[in-house]
Symmetry: C2
Subunit: 173 residues, 2 copies
């Protein structure tokens, strides 16, 4: 079996990342109750570029269609973050999980990379079939997670867990 998870050095400044995301969320608030999101990549010609990528997978076209980073991000630290990625991201989103909430147990069609913005030691990713429990620290590095395996994540701490989640197409790499 290929590894469920691995860490990739990205050397993002955690404080600058946190400030950039906070500033962005003032301009473009998260949508949805409980598991809240904001799309950082959109389809070319998208009618609602900040939100279409947040819809359920079954309601939208393939992740690989969400290729465009918002022009508004280009000159800021989030643009620099995109430039540093060692892969081609698709359908990147900010995903927030309130304290005491979890995601449904599910499989994604493709692996993901996670960059934690704010979190605590009590927020965990869980691969339920593999007895694997993973805390992703807000250390400015990327964590690859093979979310094609059955998984969830829960926030058992008191802080909001905010991650930037990058989609990726394994066939393109």
């Amino acid at each position: 079996m290929t590894p469920l998870t691995s860490r990739i050095e990205l050397n993002i400044d955690p404080d600058k990342l946190c400030e950039s995301v906070a500033s962005l969320l003032e301009r473009h608030p998260l949508v949805y109750e409980g598991t809240r999101q904001l799309a950082l990549q959109h389809r070319p010609e998208a009618a609602d570029p900040w939100h279409e990528g947040c819809w359920k997978q079954s309601l939208i076209s393939a992740d690989s269609d969400f290729t465009e980073v918002h022009p508004e991000l280009r000159d800021g630290y989030l643009g620099e973050m995109f430039d540093r990625l060692p892969f081609k991201p698709i359908r990147t989103r900010i995903m927030a999980l309130d304290p005491r909430y979890c995601y449904s147990v599910h499989r994604d069609q493709t692996p993901r990379y996670h960059l934690a913005v704010t979190t605590s030691e009590h927020a965990h990713f869980v691969f339920v079939e593999h007895d694997k429990v993973l805390n992703i620290p807000a250390d400015g590095n990327l964590y690859y997670v093979d979310t094609r395996h059955l998984h969830s994540a829960f926030n058992g701490g008191d802080e909001m867990r905010i991650h930037i989640v990058f989609g990726t197409d394994p066939e393109q790499e």
Copy 2:
């Protein structure tokens, strides 16, 4: 290390258990949002016997003071359940976890025994320091969980997870 979990045959009828709990909850609804509870044991002379055991550990006296099973339960299937236990239970509660909710990551002062009433394959107990993920099936048997280890539980399914949670004093056994 002693085992984190073990299964104890109790041979409770899952359907009768489910009916008895549903009937009880019609008479005495669960309290609290999200992580909802109802106390099945109370302190002698308790002023609010169905609820005092649900309060936070720091607000109440020791679990070992909650020794009395409600007289109302004695002649029903829940009374039979109490009679079958191979240990002396304390501060027994019904604990319900709605879909997409989790508990805080915490340690209890004593181990617990769980009897699942309704659940799904997507509700999991997690020992976060031990990479241990545990689904407790509603099979009419008891599951010992050493909740003195750091843990949480999350409900990543679409069904309510309802467990009967028995406290126990390891020094009394």
